[in-house]
């Protein structure tokens, strides 16, 4: 039924406030549900790759494990350490979760569609600002204040090390993220996600023209979301849990939700900027394509987690400043030269 309600972008009624609200609720519901369900998927996939069984006792195939975890998180005692800075300690998890969802306000997830039998147009993007890609990257960067403040406020040496690592990791990989998306931005000539999508409607996907930028963006994306080769902020073997050492219950859960929402955002950006966006592909409608691409990039992150060990902080810095950044600069230079010629 859903496939019949998607129309083409031409000849549509005006975007009204109710459409935007429906879109916002849709994004929140879908992403929050996926972020919760993601924990189950992550455990199952990791178990499959490591020849284990994963969760299987709660409900069929362990599907209700998610509910059990939720009940556990909500009913756990909320502990604030005696010597922590209570105010900052309490708002730090909220920063992570809130910025992750604010970033999603400017991300197009499904194509435009009208609700059947009404004139309500639900736009592809909740807030179509002209500089969408910069806004999303900036908001995700602001989200790293969560780990930073959490580590500094808890009065715990592991926390301080975790927040110091947040600062260096963010300051280094922000450069790579910016430079790697700069090349596609130069080709498209716009900062709007909708323009990125439309640029690839007829032609090839941008990943064909910009393979280096795509790989660099993915690597920097792992660093920005603290996923496994680069999860130095909470590296269990070295610094207990880093910035989340003193957190318990739902405050810890908020960090988790923020991290999963950021993974999905990275997936959406990669799909729209490099992998053809929500355009139809052969006979497959666009909304299936975009869900497939986001799901694949989510799976890819879990796959990498199962396959790669952690890196040391000095290896991380070496990789960023001596390999990735020069590559990104050269890529931008070559793109500029080709565009000029």
């Amino acid at each position: 039924m859903v496939s019949t309600i998607f129309l083409t972008a031409t000849a549509l009624p005006e975007v009204i406030w109710i459409g935007v609200i429906i879109k916002a609720v849709l994004i929140l519901a879908v992403i929050a549900a996926i972020a919760g369900f993601g924990t189950y998927i992550e455990r199952k996939i990791l178990a499959f790759m490591q020849r284990r069984l994963g969760p299987q006792h709660v409900g069929p195939f362990g599907l209700l494990q998610l509910a059990a975890d939720g009940i556990k998180l909500f009913t756990k005692e909320d502990i604030i350490p005696q010597h922590a800075n209570k105010f900052i300690f309490s708002i730090a998890p909220v920063i992570t979760a809130a910025t992750a969802f604010i970033a999603l306000a400017a991300v197009p997830v499904f194509p435009d569609f009208t609700i059947p039998f009404t004139d309500i147009l639900v736009p592809s993007i909740a807030s179509d600002i002209n500089v969408g890609i910069l806004f999303v990257l900036g908001m995700m960067a602001a989200g790293l204040y969560g780990p930073l403040l959490a580590g500094m406020s808890q009065g715990n040496k592991w926390g301080i090390i975790g927040s110091a690592r947040t600062a260096i990791q963010f300051l280094s990989y922000e450069v790579v993220t910016g430079l790697s998306v700069l090349a596609p931005i130069m080709m498209v000539g716009s900062l709007s996600f909708v323009d990125f999508n439309d640029y690839q409607t007829d032609g090839l996907w941008l990943v064909v023209y910009q393979p280096i930028a795509f790989v660099l963006f993915l690597i920097a994306g792992f660093a920005e979301t603290n996923r496994t080769p680069f999860d130095l902020l909470e590296h269990e073997a070295e610094i207990i849990s880093g910035y989340v050492t003193e957190y318990s219950g739902m405050r810890w859960g908020l960090f988790f939700i923020g991290e999963y929402a950021n993974m999905i955002t990275i997936g959406v950006i990669a799909s729209i900027v490099f992998l053809g966006g929500y355009n139809d592909f052969l006979f497959i409608p666009g909304w299936i394509m975009i869900i497939g691409k986001i799901a694949f990039s989510f799976f890819f992150m879990l796959w990498v987690r199962a396959a790669w060990p952690h890196v040391r902080p000095d290896q991380l810095m070496w990789l960023c400043w001596k390999v990735l950044m020069p590559l990104a600069v050269i890529n931008v230079l070559i793109t500029g030269l080709v565009i000029m010629i």
Binding site: F135, A141, A164, I168, L191, D314
Partner: protein, 197 residues
Amino acid sequence: MYETIAFYTFAISTTILFLITVMSKNVLYAMTALASGMVMISGFFFLLGADFLGVVQLIVYVGAVMALYGFAMMFFDATRDIKEKHQNPALVFLLGGLMALMFVVIFSAPIIGDNVQALYPIVEGVGNAQAVGMVLFTKYLVPFEVAALMLLVAMIAGIILAGKKMDYSLTTSEAADEEINVEEKLQADIEREKGEA
């Protein structure tokens, strides 16, 4: 209507946040207020329709304040209990007075705002980034290039200052140890000569 409400919200929160930055002795409060104040300022750019500048404000200052946190982490104990005691009532009086004046200006700003004319009005059909680019590469070309040159100088200086022994790993490489030993020997020699003299 909504814009007015948003303007007052952003204006008052910015003023209060920066006042906390100046007055608080707790480094964690001061830094956090500074960072959130910078985010609030970007709200003004969005209100004025300058999306690009707003996002640039967000990205640049989020990163810059994050670097300041690094220094705060090195020099201060962020969780120590600090008594927020202000010995100088004149300073509080002065800053409070300035803030009150600021609020008066803020509330009268829409009245003054009617008479303001934009030097570079928004051109229809031209995006924000393009408009900034056009102004940067025509009217402000020289300051722009000078700023680029200064940044280049700063970058080279930073690399030279931080780049000493960059190729050695301080923990594993023996070459670094030898170099440190040589320097220590030199230092000892100099001190001995001083002693003899």
